[in-house]
């Protein structure tokens, strides 16, 4: 039953056809099955208690939490050995808000260590597998959340998104991934990766569920100065499907086949599927324009992201010394102890990012790398803001197709022709823009996704367009393994 949507589950709970305890039991059972199959979890909360069913649509319904959210009394590792034994004494604000609504966390989902990866292969608990095909990756870093939602463990799981960590795994797992405007959801209690780019968000199987969950997670938080008051915004109530007259654009330099001289069959299929999606939009009254943007600017996106995210990460993770929390390192003095803790605790990928971050922040390099990256970030954001004056949003295909195989995957900075197609979702983080990925079909029998990104604070509009688009296709509420197409 847990493969149903939130509203349907709420109806069943209200009518007494099912109880919260039964839903939780089923969700836990599925968690164990999916753990066997996909290795999606760090912790399964076997003693999760049911809550009273109220008029709140989320009450009594199980959900999952990415393991980089602080959860009171529940192990929270960030999928890192540096926090392998850390049990927080406080809830992240987003989690606390959901608890107030009566939602029940049943597991903590695995991720690329501290969110710093895009493959789901660097968690300290091992590789996370895609429920559509276990030989394939989920992408990352919200890999466990994406796998669990796609497998129908519960209607939703929390994710976090610094580059594309919600929106790309959503695409690879055939589900919805939404990160709202920066600051709409408090980041208090989210283990930081790169504070100026980090967003909380959610993975679901429908746009409506994403709206319902973020409505409950969001709000101004006195513990996060970057959060803002969104009381006047009700995302779920804004979904009316009425999108006639809305205007979207896509970027020619990313979508046009001519940009890819060595076009693979898969990519060709993916791009033509995207064109089909555009047609669907046009049929419901949305106009979609092709816009050209300087390729130099676009090509700078991945390196700007690497510079800024690695620099902030280096600083953000300096609290992981094993002195206050995490396993205490060995050594004759405190410096040795910190070194030992960090050397043993972090995976090689993260260490490499720290080295890059440190290098970028060094006095002699800051201007050249860090400050310039900030300037280019500003240029990109300004360009988008300018376009958002004319358009409701930007629509682009996610990645170059379906999920790649795990074996042979390398989580590296992608330098190929298709880099921009892989990395353009980072635009959403640069500007703090609301951004949502929804499934838009299958390529080589694997789900693929399309992304819509809009201007800050325009979440309701963006979700409504995604909601209307979703209704033109047949991929809402998909569970991995079912037959589609």
């Amino acid at each position: 039953m847990v493969e149903l949507g939130i509203k349907k589950l709420h109806e069943l709970l209200k009518s007494g056809e099912v109880t919260s305890a039964e839903l939780i039991k089923e969700s836990l059972q599925k968690s164990h099955e999916i753990q066997e199959k996909c290795n999606a979890f760090v912790t399964i909360v076997d003693d999760a208690l049911s809550t009273q069913v109220t008029d709140d649509v989320l009450s009594g319904i199980p959900f999952g939490i990415k393991d980089n959210y602080s959860t009171k009394g529940i192990l929270s590792t960030g999928s890192s050995n540096t926090l392998r034994d850390y049990v927080p004494f406080f809830d992240a604000t987003a989690v606390a808000n959901l608890r107030i609504h009566g939602a029940v966390p049943v597991n903590k989902t695995a991720l690329d260590e501290f969110g710093m990866g895009g493959t789901g292969t660097t968690a300290h608990t091992g590789v996370i597998r895609n429920p559509w095909d276990v030989k394939r990756m989920c992408a990352g870093s919200s890999s466990g959340s994406a796998a669990a939602v796609a497998a129908g463990v519960y209607p939703y799981a929390l994710g976090s998104d610094t580059g594309d960590s919600i929106r790309k795994p959503a695409a690879f797992c055939g589900i919805v991934g939404y990160k709202p405007t920066y600051g709409m959801i408090s980041r208090y209690g989210l283990f930081p990766f790169a504070s100026s780019l980090d967003h909380c968000g959610v993975l679901t199987r429908s746009v409506e569920d994403a709206a319902i969950v973020v409505d409950a997670m969001k709000g101004c938080d006195e513990l996060d100065q970057t959060s803002w008051d969104s009381q006047d915004i009700s995302l779920a109530n804004s979904l009316n499907g009425n999108v006639a007259g809305k205007k979207l654009f896509f970027i020619k330099e990313i979508v046009d086949e001519s940009n890819y001289p060595d076009l693979s069959k898969e990519l060709k299929e993916h791009l033509s599927n995207f064109r089909k999606t555009i047609k669907n939009l046009e049929r419901i009254g949305v106009s979609v324009d092709e816009v050209s943007i300087d390729k130099t600017l676009l090509n700078a996106i991945p390196s700007v992201y690497v510079c800024l995210s690695c620099a902030e990460a280096t600083s953000n993770m300096s609290n992981l010394t094993g002195i206050i929390f995490g396993p205490r390192g060995k050594g004759d003095n405190v410096t040795e102890m910190m070194k030992d803790h960090r050397t043993k605790g972090f995976s090689p990928l993260i260490k490499r990012r720290f080295v890059i971050g440190s290098y970028i922040l060094q006095k002699e390099n800051q201007e050249r790398y860090f400050v310039n990256a900030q300037r280019v970030r500003r240029l990109i954001v300004d360009k988008m803001k300018e376009l958002f004056k004319t358009y409701d949003g930007l629509i682009l295909p996610v990645s170059t197709g379906g999920a790649p195989y795990i074996d042979g995957s390398k989580d590296e900075i992608n330098a190929s022709d298709t880099a921009i197609l892989e990395e353009h979702l980072q635009i959403g983080n640069f500007g703090g823009f609301p951004s949502i990925t929804i499934p838009n079909g299958f390529v080589s029998k694997l789900p693929v996704g399309v992304n819509i990104t809009g201007d800050c604070y325009d979440d309701a509009n963006i979700l409504n367009i995604a909601y209307a688009l979703e209704a033109t296709m047949n991929y809402k509420g998909m569970i991995a393994g079912d037959k589609y197409e």
């Binding site: 004494f89 208090y188 993770m317 992981l320 922040l361």
Partner: protein, 476 residues
Amino acid sequence: MSKYKAVIGLEMHCELKSNSKVFSNACNEYSEIANINVQALDMAFPGTLPVVNKECVRKALLMSIVLNCKQPEYLYFDRKNYYYPDLPKGYQITQMHSPIGIDGHITINCNGYEKDILIHDIHLEEDSAALEHFSDASLIDYNRSGVPLLELVTEPCFNSAEEAVAFLEEMRRIYQYCDVSDADTQKGQIRCDVNVSIMDEDAKELGTKVEIKNVNTFANVFEAINYEIKRQSELKDAGRYAEVVQETRRFDEETGTTKRMRGKVDAIDYKYFVEPNIPKYKIDNSWLEEIKKDIPELPRERKNKYINSWHLSEYDANIIIKDKSYADYFDECVNSGIDAKVAANWLIVNIIAYLSKEDISIKEFFLTPKLLKQIIDELNKGTISSKQAKEIFFKALDEEKVPSSYISKDIAQISDKGALEEIITNILNNNSKQIEEYKNGKTNLFDYFVGQVMKETRGKANPILTKEILKDKLDN
């Protein structure tokens, strides 16, 4: 002492007074008990975020204004990254790019001469935790982690230890007067770093700068500077000035010397960058105007008032402004109508001595200016003698009773002119022989008559009035 010119710069860290810490809502209060004023952020638990304490910003802006600094248009903070066990986050939130005040100046008085001190900048930051080292372990007390600190950086504009300490003392007074900090060195609320170099009197270029870190009392600042001037001068005299290198040293209290910590090559790259979790905040002019209204009369202004308008000696004025609570008490005395010189005398001779003997603050002192005035009024009226006034003063303090309750008929002086004249006439009538001797030139007999009056009145005759009447009757 040295034939060289010393050039000294100061960094003064001062803990701000506030209800909560600068970025967390833990209590900002000095405590002997370790780790009781701690919130999750103060220990950098994963996911915690800084939230700026507006009251701390207000106080920092107030100091920025007092020091005649320029305030930035936007308030924001930077991270200073380094690893140390007293720094839980692995970085300190401070202000490097846009301090809360830059390019300020303030006039100080040092041994009778005035000097303008240039302020490079003043910025708001957080304190680190406190470490305590034992032979086999070190302990960390996070009470201090996140306590608001104002760091004031001067230009290298002092030429002696005296000037440096005069500045620090003036700053301490200003912090206290503005209620920005208790500025108590005993509690480690003020800590200084000192830069010292020497140069030939006529040289154009500065000498090699040596930094001495974490000097915690003004006496140590004084000693550290003088030791460093001496050390550098001796090396220069011996032709070994090259051995003075740009380095960081520490002051060793036991030996009164400075010791090398690290050289320039080991200088730490703090990798400063803007703190992303605190949005830029526009500092409105209207807010600055509001803050300006909160600036009290500063010690220097008060001192000038005491000397120029109230005619105190500089010596007395200096004693009174030393502590804001003294100056406040004094002002209240004068404003309630006590003569300034009389009030100053009482304060300096009796009250301050009493306070230090009893080890209490003037706020705990029983005789408020209003109560003190009761004594002084009676003294002025001549109802009591100054000896009696003192007795009443101490008795009132001892028994915590209002002074007027001691000024009964019994103790009151005979100041009634008619009554005194009657007594004196009687005495003179019975001493005609002595009057004759007096009139023949034995003028020291005057005291004999005074004595007789006192004897008759059992010491209660108003001595001034007695002398007046006597003189009048004897000389005419």
